[in-house]
């Protein structure tokens, strides 16, 4: 059902689709090393068009395709690439679709991936569009919860940090509307969840906007921390003052309940103290590693024969 379809928004996926992807990801996870020999993506080409810097997402797509025996072509740095010299995205896509079987795009403007998919006869995967969505990160996040906690249903999830510009948060919340979960949102006043996202989820989720982070830390199954970007603050002192009160240290982790986990879409800056990295509840590096089986599953389901 995902075959030849673009993946632009988590709204493109129903719960059944998500379960199918997880099942396939389990298979990829278990057969990671055989896949290279089986080469299910042999002779297929994935192109990555990143108009915005990315390390993890881009590398994990490239790694996933390589592990499936396919090959990858990438646009050079978008600032030097001839593709960006005034050429419209529509034109670039019309060219790139003939070079590849599946296209992965990240772009600073909202709706760019949808536009790309409309100009392409080949499937397009959204790897982030402005402050819009980032559906593959969301699948990685959900998969992490499922793998580490056994289930997504009935969990209490506290999301902390930049809820305004963080597209990973927007996509994650939209996807969580498919489950029965309790959500707590914690953010600085200038980085609150935008109304248009809140409207979308408020009737479908038990959402609580809270100030008291203390209590949520104690009772949550998942602490999902996001990066607060310094650039969002005109007064850098404000940033440092704030980051102090949002930082997760050993002390906070010790208050968390048993069998709870800490997630972060990475890169992490100051939000999680490095001493937490060695604690059992820290799952953010594990989370990043799940990016490979999830993206292998997606690529093979979308572009496979």
């Amino acid at each position: 059902m995902l075959k030849n379809k673009s993946l632009i928004s988590v709204s493109d996926l129903d719960k059944g689709d998500i379960e199918d992807i997880f099942e396939k990801a389990d298979y990829m996870y278990q057969n990671m090393n055989n896949m290279r020999q089986n080469e299910p993506m042999k002779l297929k080409i994935l192109s990555t068009l990143f108009y915005e810097p990315s390390t993890r997402t881009r590398l994990s797509f490239e790694s996933a395709m390589e592990r499936l025996g396919g090959s990858v072509i990438s646009m050079a740095d978008s600032k030097t690439s001839s593709f960006s010299k005034g050429e419209t995205l529509a034109d670039t896509i019309r060219i790139v679709e003939s070079y590849s079987d599946i296209i992965v795009i990240r772009h600073p403007l909202e709706g760019a991936a949808l536009l790309a998919s409309r100009f392409s006869s080949k499937p397009v995967i959204n790897a982030g569009d402005g402050s819009g969505e980032h559906p593959t990160q969301t699948l990685v996040d959900l998969y992490t919860i499922k793998k580490e906690l056994g289930d997504i249903e009935n969990k209490e999830i506290t999301i902390i940090g930049d809820l305004k510009y963080g597209r990973t948060v927007h996509s994650l919340l939209l996807a969580l509307t498919r489950y029965h979960v309790k959500i707590n949102l914690v953010s600085p006043a200038n980085l609150k969840l935008p109304d248009y996202v809140y409207k979308e989820i408020k009737n479908k989720l038990d959402v609580n906007i809270i100030d008291d982070i203390e209590q949520s830390i104690k009772q949550s199954d998942v602490l999902y921390i996001t990066r607060i970007q310094k650039e969002r603050f005109t007064d850098k002192n404000e940033y440092y003052k704030l980051i102090g009160s949002y930082k997760i240290t050993k002390k906070e982790v010790e208050k968390m309940k048993e069998n709870s986990i800490i997630m972060h879409p990475l890169p992490r800056i100051d939000e999680i103290d490095v001493e937490v990295d060695f604690m059992k509840k820290a799952k953010y590096f594990k989370q990043a590693s799940y990016g490979i089986p999830i993206r292998m599953a997606l690529i093979s389901m979308i572009a496979g024969d």
């Binding site: 419209t88 995205l89 529509a90 772009h107 600073p108 403007l109 909202e110 709706g111 760019a112 949808l114 536009l115 409309r118 569009d129 402005g130 402050s131 819009g132 248009y196 409207k199």
Partner: protein, 151 residues
């Protein structure tokens, strides 16, 4: 007693009636007026249906679909009369389209439809009262005056 026809009748043209009082100039803004289209405007004229209304009469001009769709967004209850040889030959009300394509600019500066790409803007109607639409590309909603200012 005909108190609204202070304006002389037109031979051929279009009457846009039942515009909310005060919105006539906004409607006029989105209509291309040519050289031989003389226009009469009534602002805040008494009306049975609406207490007060605005009305626009344009000579030698018939409206296109895109103009009717724009009018629907400014004046959802407007009625249009087509006049030929002093008589009304057709009369209908405007209709809010479910999909609003190419007639409204997205208010989000960071939306791909504002970046010089060869695409029409595209919105879905979310609700007609209050008028709210949602950009298909960036998923942002726009309402009332925001919409009128971006027509």
């Amino acid at each position: 007693m005909d108190r609204t026809l202070k304006i002389s009748k037109i031979k051929d043209g279009t009457v846009i009636d039942h515009i909310p009082a005060g919105k006539a100039l906004k409607v006029l803004n989105i209509i291309n007026i040519g050289e031989n289209n003389s226009i009469s405007i009534g602002i805040k004229v008494p009306s049975n249906k609406m207490r007060e209304k605005d009305v626009i009469k344009i000579e030698n001009r018939f409206l296109e679909k895109i103009e009717l769709d724009k009018i629907a967004m400014i004046a959802p209850n407007a009625s249009i009369s087509i006049i030929k040889n002093y008589d009304i030959i057709e009369k209908f009300s405007v209709d809010l389209p479910q999909k609003i394509i190419g007639i409204l600019k997205c208010n989000n500066q960071n939306c791909i439809t504002n970046a010089g790409e060869p695409v029409n803007s595209e919105f879905n109607l979310v609700s007609s009262n209050p008028l709210t639409v949602k950009c298909v590309y960036c998923k942002r909603e726009m309402a009332d005056n925001e919409i009128i200012n971006n027509l």
